[in-house]
Symmetry: none
Subunit: 203 residues, 4 copies
DNA sequence: TATGAATGAGAATTCATTCAT
DNA sequence: CATGAATGAATTCTCATTCAT
């Protein structure tokens, strides 16, 4: 419904704030309404129910994130640089949109309800960007062929995601997104073992 | 509370099942009681409230997991083998205790409520097992020194954890725990780039 | 809360009936809702909780009683007649509003909870109407000066109140409010001992 | 059951404390048990249920109070002195046994439940001690005959009782029991109007 | 479209009472 | 007699959702 209305977006934005603050189950619809400066009932003109707010919020956000990431990746050739870019962009985004990151991280995943009943295509697409990079690297002979892209994508995403969770849930933050991104992509690209062809960067 | 009785454990086990099936917020205390074959009120002789069931469950489980993992790691010297073992043991455990894994994954680690309000020492200890391996490897000159253990531990754990989430939340399972563990530790140890000293697949 | 609606008053009136019938602790909120013909939840739009219903009920009633009593007393000069009037009005009110009287009598007083935690200003004001009459009488030389108004007010109110309790809690009623009021004020004004200047009234 | 057992009395005494502290409805049987240093179940060997504790407590106490008051009154001839004695003894007792007084006052006498359902003979006997004094005074020509003893007894008791309530529920206490007793009996005996034969203050 | 008062289903928790030991 | 772990009925209050205005 009316996805472009001003109120639709206000409600989404309000929901991001409230869900991040309270968590999905402890957030009240009336609180979102208040934050969005609309009446409680108005929310039900734009969303079917509370669940639908969360799902819509997620889809709208992932749509944007996905488009952005695709665009940025398309301008690069080197699979290694793509991996590095993915990490950097992902963690910057988390850094810039803390509330949104928290909701996506915590609330969407938490609801086994959603993850089980709801086919999370956008998220799968996002993961597959990584698998595509890996496959591309393998085709180009840059990446080793004994790594399964379907596992590598989860491993790489999981690594970034755990870093995000740490930022999102703890108040302090020991490492900058740049450093974290660089470290994580370095581990993935060259591994923990010293690599003759790839001496550590910047040293 | 009187932890002597077997009722305490029966309730914990019932809670694992019910939380895994329904999620924390959709699980009813009376359902846990029924599953544990005790009266509703009995639960409150052993736990302060619903939250306390979840937290206790987590602590009891992490205690055991932590002790087991420590024991297994202590019998190995080689940091590379330790990384491989960690991955294998972690994923086997998830495989063996699906319900428990799901509850820990989804309901506790993903819960803003619990992760924000409650100091999760056991989990931190678990993560630090990884940091310790990395540090040890660096000290022995086996691992590169430009990797920050505090980031590596999260990256490695996150990779395993995302793999688990996939198993736990999807019904099908494309890869065996053994293969996943082996792949993930390979990526971490040697990276995506072909490594002259470490040809693929243990040859 | 929105006191404009007639629902507020309907709930108060329903609560008076139900509390009188069952007592505060044995009254169910759902019963009050039913009696007021509103949904259970509606009560919580107008009152914070069950306690608040009782307190609000009390304040609303005392407000009215206090205003009425003040108005009636202000039209009289003679302190003796004021004492007589107070007794008459108080007991008539009890007679006319049995349920309300019972709730005020029994439920509010009973709750040590309420009487201890809740500063019962309206009731104190009501008592002080009596102290004022006594003081006025002493100033005018009509009442003896060796009586402490702060004790006399409690003695007089207590006498009326015990009479009320008797009516409210027993089903039968041996004496009319008029006779009781007249007897009690007579005792207070002239005492038990035959008084030369004040021969018994009406004989 | 076993009214003379040590435990019976310990439970009664514990109940007095707990009911005074929390009120009947907010008092927990287990709390009484704890205070009495017996097991929860033991209470049910001596009392049928929670109500029965309150009623028994009341009967035991009234029995004693009644016997004491009767004994003291029987040693005096003058009805005026008897009135004075009654007031003094009643208020002293309240003073000495605060908890007990509060429970009788607030929890029993103010309880619709108990006062409606339960025929309160001991209390009626106590009130009738006053009626008897009045009647005796009237027979001896000391008290005026136009006062109805059945009303006077409630008025006098109510006056004392309101004074007690004040002490019991407020923490401070403005007047000593002696002064209050003396004032209240003075009002009852001679009234508010200056009385030629009875100048103030016992002269 | 927008409102927000009203609804009422639903669930956690308490605690008097029981009964096996 | 005494215990206290276990029971489960019972009730307040919340909050997503509706619908008359």
């Amino acid at each position: 419904m009316k996805r472009n209305s001003d109120k639709y977006n206000r409600i989404i934005e309000a929901a991001v704030k409230v869900f991040a603050r309270k968590g999905f189950y402890n957030a009240k619809v009336s609180e979102i309404a208040k934050e969005a400066k609309v009446a409680d009932g108005t929310i039900y003109l734009y969303f079917q129910n509370k669940d639908d707010i969360l799902i819509s919020l997620f889809e709208v956000a992932m749509e944007k994130i996905l488009r952005n990431m695709k665009g940025r990746l398309s301008r690069i050739e080197d699979p290694i640089k793509k991996i590095e870019l993915f990490a950097a962009v992902h963690l910057e985004l988390v850094e810039k949109s803390k509330d949104l990151a928290e909701v996506i991280q915590v609330e969407i995943r938490q609801s086994s309800k959603f993850m089980k009943e709801y086919r999370n295509d956008k998220f799968i697409d996002y993961l597959n960007l990584i698998a595509d990079i890996v496959r591309e690297g393998q085709a180009k002979g840059v990446f080793r062929k004994d790594i399964v892209p379907g596992i590598a994508k989860r491993a790489f995403f999981g690594a970034l995601d755990e870093m995000s969770r740490y930022w999102v849930l703890s108040t302090r933050r020991s490492y900058s997104p740049q450093i974290a991104a660089e470290q994580i992509s370095r581990i993935f690209v060259t591994g923990l073992i010293p690599h003759p062809d790839h001496p550590p960067e910047g040293e």
